[in-house]
Amino acid sequence: METLLERIQQGHFWDFPGGIHPPTRKELTSQHPIAEVPLPPVLYVPIKQHIGTIGQILVSKGEHVKKGQALTNGLNHLDVAVHAPTSGVVQEIKEHISAHPSALPELCICIQPDGLDEWREREPWADYLNYSKEQLLRRLQLNGVAGLGGAGFPTHIKSATNAEIEFLIINAVECEPYITADDLLMQEYPEAIIQGIEILQHMTGAKHVLIGIEDDKPLAVTAIKAAVGVERGFHVCELPTQYPSGGEKQLVQILTGREVPKGGIPADIGIVMQNVGTAYAVSRAIVADQPLIHRVVTMTGESIHQPKNVWALLGTPVSHLLDHVDFRPGLNQRLIMGGPMMGFTLPSPDVPITKISNCILAPSNQELPPESPEMPCIRCGECAIVCPATLLPQQLQWYAKAKDYEKLESYNLADCIECGACSYVCPSDIPLVQYYRVAKAEIKTQQQEKQKAEQAKLRFEARKARLERDKQERLEKQRKASEARQSTSEDSNKIEAAISRVKESATDKVAAAIARAKAKRQPTEDESPDNSEVIAAREARKQQARDYKESKQTGTEPESSPTDKKAAVAAAIARAKAKKAKLAEQSEATEQSKDNSSENASEQDDRKAKIAAAIARAKAKKAQQEDAESLGEENVEPKSNATDDKKAKVAAAIERAKTKKAAKEAEANAQGEAETQASDLSPEEERKAKIAAAVARAKAKKAQKDNDQGKN
């Protein structure tokens, strides 16, 4: 039995199940050297070009940036910085169509090149092997290196693995038809690539390096073999051409015969895989301190009359590249970013090149005929034969069409790598991969929603428990308070008693608030159609409000004692109840008071009551609109109660609440006044102005309601 390494040395590789042999058509571009294109008029640099989080934007509009200057930082572990691809001026920071299948707009930094192409200061590390792993990783992150293979996974995270790595696999397979970007890169920059591989090996501590290249790239193989030399001991593995041997999982299987366990990463079985383009970028970033600002892009397809590979600055609009390769669009022209198997169509040529764009394919309708109408599945099973993940695509499409997500999961839909081999062979032209993508996205959303609902439930229950606890505490205090009340004077006036208690001690404030609240509720609970009682109740409430303010002013220092906060909360509760009472009262004044009063009468302190209150509020508001006329007169008075207490925001809130009530006061000139006040803000008066603004808004709200009512 030969060992794994012996097998690899002798070129005896494994095979993965399935796979297809589509025409590769790489000869269109593989013979031409990588070309340079002139600077585009404007660059749209998306701030997110990788998987992970976005760093903070470091530049602002109008700022001049140098080539390679960081546009976002990389503070978080998952951040990857982006850089100015050339020197120029930041024209705008705005949303621009993204290089994503959805084409949803994404935040881009638009840079207008100044043509000087002036570099920022760089600090080359020629002796890169003398730097620590941490230093190297940090530099990779700051220089914006992310996987150039397709997913854009941050390289510094992949390389930071602490697992014991046996194999570092360099993926130079490039199995996708048409694309020759890696091929050309290997032909032209083999030394830099080898340097990058050395750095990657240094960081991951891999024992062996395997470079996997398909045998349809003889020039690249020769170049890499020559650059590797003999003493390094890297294994250059020539693999038979087969799609999708460049898939991460498939390449692991071909080279080592191992399988990445379900839901795991290659590091779990001692393997790290990097794309050959990433190796090049690593070498540039570490050795030359040159951030990832450009990449090789294959411009190919029969609608492009000078197909070739170009060096494209990240952020270059595709249209600019097309201008330099003699692009002649046909009818129903498709513009594909990526290869013909996994690439996605672009709705517009304005899409910018990003770190993961390796190819722009503009096929004629003869070479890649447009999709034909879908026919029924005849269960021929060809898709299952070619599936590299050994799934059963014909069953999956059946369940995907039926939206049977449970079945889809049991048939391991999540393990589909979306390589497109099944759709490629399907005689019925079923867009299988599209069905899977839709189903996957739907499953993901459902899972997220389920999770969110679960979380909401937990939070709701936690809140309910808290409210219940508070209520118990409140009842306890109330009981104490009533005991205390009995022990003091015979004064039956609850309000007076409450005020006096507030003056006595800060802790009693809460109880006082509750007492007040009770007092407020009293009139509504005893409601009867008799109008005089309502007026009396209102009177009492006004009195109480004044007293409350008084107590506030004369009470203990706000924000000093811990109990004050509690008191504030209680006060807020009291206010809420006051509002409830008020609304009930207002509606009482109308003819539709019956159901309101009965609802209010049955109210309790728990959550249920609040919901009911919300309904009552809604009804009351409606009633209020209809009857604003009659209410207006009574509401003039409270307005004058607005005192000069400006420090206490609570008081201000009360004022506003009253103002809100004051329907008739919301005159246009009042609003104008508030606005002028708000406009000439001086730092000291800011607060004042804010309050005024709030008042004005409240007034406006009322006014609008009146207007609405007027229209009615």
């Binding site: 169509i97 993204s98 994503h100 299948p101 959805s102 084409a103 949803l104 994404e106 709705p347 517009s348 040529p349 304005d350 599209q434 993508r437 839709v438 996205a441 993901k444 959303t445 997220q448 929603e449 969110k452 609902a453 679960e454 979380q455 909401a456 439930k457 939070r459 709701f460 936690a462 809140r463 906060k565 504030a568 909360v569 807020a572 509760i573 206010r575 809420a576 728990d606 959550r607 249920k608 609040k610 919901i611 009911a612 919300a614 309904i615 509020r617 809604a618 925001k649 609570v650 201000a652 809130a653 506003r656 609440a657 809100k660 804010k690 309050i691 709030a694 808004r697 409240a698 709200k701």
Partner: protein, 184 residues
């Protein structure tokens, strides 16, 4: 006589089978979630109260006790279908009296207008609003269920319900929805 034998035989058989069935019912009892739990798991947990009950669980209890299944606008048609499936009844269209099914929204506080009254905090059923008295409040978007309950209590109307912005990560591969740009 034969009739009596027949009757005795049948009676014995009935007893034996009854005993076997009874034993099986006890021995192989399947412990399913109580109905209320199952219903509650289907409901969207927005706790919005649009159904007329103070939260999702109370509504789940009401459904278990025979209330209609079509009172949940946030859950919409899919929830009604699932409930109908669970309860073994015909799905019905959403009851308009409780609201319309809408795109998913979250509350958003215009922060410079907030006066710090804490009213919305008290209204929020899932404690998704952060803030203190006289301090600016803000909403934790990830926790907001879009229940709408905070909008009404706000005295200065600084809370808006805004639809969630589509994100590339949560895009559902609806190729038809991509706006195609017309170039020259």
């Amino acid at each position: 006589m034969t009739i009596i034998y027949a009757l005795i035989a049948l009676g014995v058989l009935a007893l034996v089978f009854g005993a076997v069935l009874g034993f099986a019912a006890v021995r192989f009892k399947v412990e399913a979630d109580p109905l209320v739990e199952q219903i509650d798991a289907i409901l969207p947990q927005t706790q919005c109260g649009q159904c007329g009950y103070p939260g999702c669980r109370p509504y789940a209890e009401a459904i278990a006790n025979g209330d209609e299944i079509n009172k949940c606008p946030p859950g919409g048609e899919s929830t009604i279908k699932e409930l109908a499936n669970l309860m073994g009844v015909e799905p019905k269209p959403l009851d308009d009296a409780h609201g319309q099914e809408d795109v998913k929204k979250v509350a958003y506080i215009r922060e410079d207008e907030c006066i710090g009254c804490t009213k919305c905090i008290h209204a929020c059923p899932v404690d998704a609003i952060v803030g203190a008295t006289r301090q600016m409040h803000t909403i934790i978007i990830d926790e907001c269920t879009g229940c709408d309950l905070c909008v009404d209590p706000c005295p200065v109307d600084c809370i808006d319900m805004v639809p969630l912005k589509p994100k590339a990560e949560s895009w559902k591969w609806d190729l038809e929805s991509i706006p195609v740009k017309v170039v020259e």
